[in-house]
């Protein structure tokens, strides 16, 4: 007699996982006590017994991958990335925070500072000021490199606080008072005729910088406070760097993602239970639909707003009526730029950086 397997039975769907396994593969179940099936199934032979190939096929990935932009403005973007594993999505997030370069003040030459704020504290504050300049126009500067127009931006701060007509002028020093010096440093190195930078031409000759003079992204960052008679005179040199060296070079305020929440009603929830459910949810995920003869029914109206607080599954028997899940391969990505580059460009840069990493290793391998 030929051996028969349960897989050959007619009720066994071919080419598809049984529904309970498919749910475990694609959803995180957020039960009242703990989340279940949080891992992503990566092993290519994970479903070999069900005769399903779990290996990565690029064609399939390309067909299924989708991006939907939810909102986009000068500083923020929120978009959905669908059909991608957490490993890759997280790589982009990590690159955005730590490896997309920007320009930030690195060296401060203090000529005079009679304010109460110490030089090193002031220098640190200056370092954290986000600059509105495209970092792709510049090169990295190593310790041995001379400061030139391609790797250094020079900003001047020269403020004197004084009493004028009974009013105090320049009592607060703000970031808008940082003045860009396109011709480089004005300070001379002692006993030489050279300055601290050796620019071969003015940075204003660069067409990209001509129309967008370099300045702080925000004009109203308070750098220091002065009293009449005090002054600050300094030059700040900004260079290109990455967030992994110091957070001041990070191009994003936040780069985060969350998995899409999914709320499932396991049975029809009617009348007083429906009202109780709407009452339970603090973010108004549920709505009430009026049925005929004054009856009511609960519906899931805004699952995207769900914060997975689990209020709806807590309490007597509620875990049998409602289930909250997360869709594993659906990421709601949100990027907030600090102003050097628009947020959509930042994301593209992060993808490019991952590509470059691969390219570099491929060259080394062959």
């Amino acid at each position: 007699m030929a051996p028969t397997s349960a897989l050959d039975m007619p009720d066994m769907p071919s080419g598809k996982l049984p529904p309970h396994l498919e749910l475990q593969r694609t959803r995180v179940i957020c039960a009242a006590d703990a989340a279940a099936h949080t891992e992503s199934i990566q092993y290519s032979g994970a479903y070999a017994l069900s005769r399903i190939d779990n290996s990565l096929r690029l064609r399939e990935f390309c067909d299924n991958f989708r991006v939907e932009v939810f909102s986009l403005n000068e500083d923020d973007i929120e978009f959905d990335m669908i059909g991608i594993d957490a490993a890759i999505a997280n790589a982009f997030r990590r690159i955005l925070i730590a490896e997309v370069p920007t320009m930030a003040i690195e060296k401060v030459f203090v000529a005079n500072n009679t304010s109460v704020i110490q030089e090193e504290v002031l220098a640190h504050r200056l370092g954290l000021v986000p600059l509105k300049v495209d970092p792709r126009l510049f090169e990295y500067k190593s310790e041995s490199d001379l400061a030139n127009e391609k790797n250094t931006i020079v900003l001047k701060l020269d403020v004197v606080c004084s009493r004028q007509d009974g009013r105090i002028k320049n009592a607060t020093v703000k970031s808008e008072q940082l003045q860009w010096l396109p011709n480089g440093s004005e300070y001379q190195i002692e006993k030489t005729s050279k300055t601290y930078t050796s620019f071969s031409c003015s940075q204003e000759t660069l067409p990209a910088l001509k129309d967008n003079p370099i300045a702080s992204r925000y004009p109203d960052i308070i750098l220091a406070k002065l009293r009449p008679g005090q002054c600050i005179e300094l030059e700040a040199h900004a260079v290109k760097g990455m967030g992994k060296t110091h957070a001041k070079w990070s191009p994003v305020a936040t780069a985060r993602y969350r998995m899409l929440p999914e709320v499932a009603l396991l049975e029809n929830i009617r009348d007083s239970l429906a009202e109780e459910l709407v009452e339970k949810c603090p973010v108004n995920v549920f709505d009430i639909e009026d049925l005929s003869r004054g009856r009511k029914k609960a519906v899931v109206a805004r699952p995207r707003d769900c914060t997975l607080c689990r209020e709806c599954v807590l309490g007597d028997g509620w875990d049998k009526r409602v289930q909250i899940r997360r869709v594993k391969e659906h990421f709601i990505f949100s990027v907030e730029s600090t102003g050097a580059l628009p947020p959509d460009v930042l994301f593209l840069e992060s993808v490019k950086i991952l590509e470059e990493k691969c390219q570099r290793l491929l060259v080394e391998l062959s």
Partner: protein
């Protein structure tokens, strides 16, 4: 910038550890994901031996193909994925910008219906 070392045996090219300098979870975890979903891979994992050393070791054991070739394919796959992601993302952003502009125009002209693309 990054330099790489392959640690394995000459008799058996199927199992190797690749030691990458100046890389971290970002690349290693992405590669581990892609390698684990390759049917030729028997085992793949990575570790960072010491947190203050910029080094990551990726272990690859295959069912017969040289580990180096499998890693190369994984890198190639990751690059193709990145290119596709970039293309898709650019399209989505362009679409969003067009839709937004149309929405603004219809608001100005007093049409209250949401614009249909």
């Amino acid at each position: 910038m990054a330099s790489m070392m392959e640690l394995g045996s000459e008799e058996d090219p199927c199992a190797s550890t690749f030691s990458l300098v100046d890389e971290d979870h970002t690349l290693a975890n992405s590669l581990r994901y892609i390698l684990n979903r390759d049917p030729r891979v028997e085992f793949c994992g990575y570790s960072i031996p010491h947190p203050s050393e910029n080094r990551v070791n990726i272990r690859i054991q295959t069912t017969g193909d040289p580990a180096k070739d499998v890693l190369k394919d994984a890198l190639q796959d990751l690059m193709v994925m990145c290119q596709h992601i970039r293309k898709t993302f650019t399209n989505a952003v362009d679409q969003h910008k067009v839709a937004k502009r149309q929405g603004e125009v219809s608001m100005k002209s007093g049409i209250t219906e949401p614009s249909t693309e």
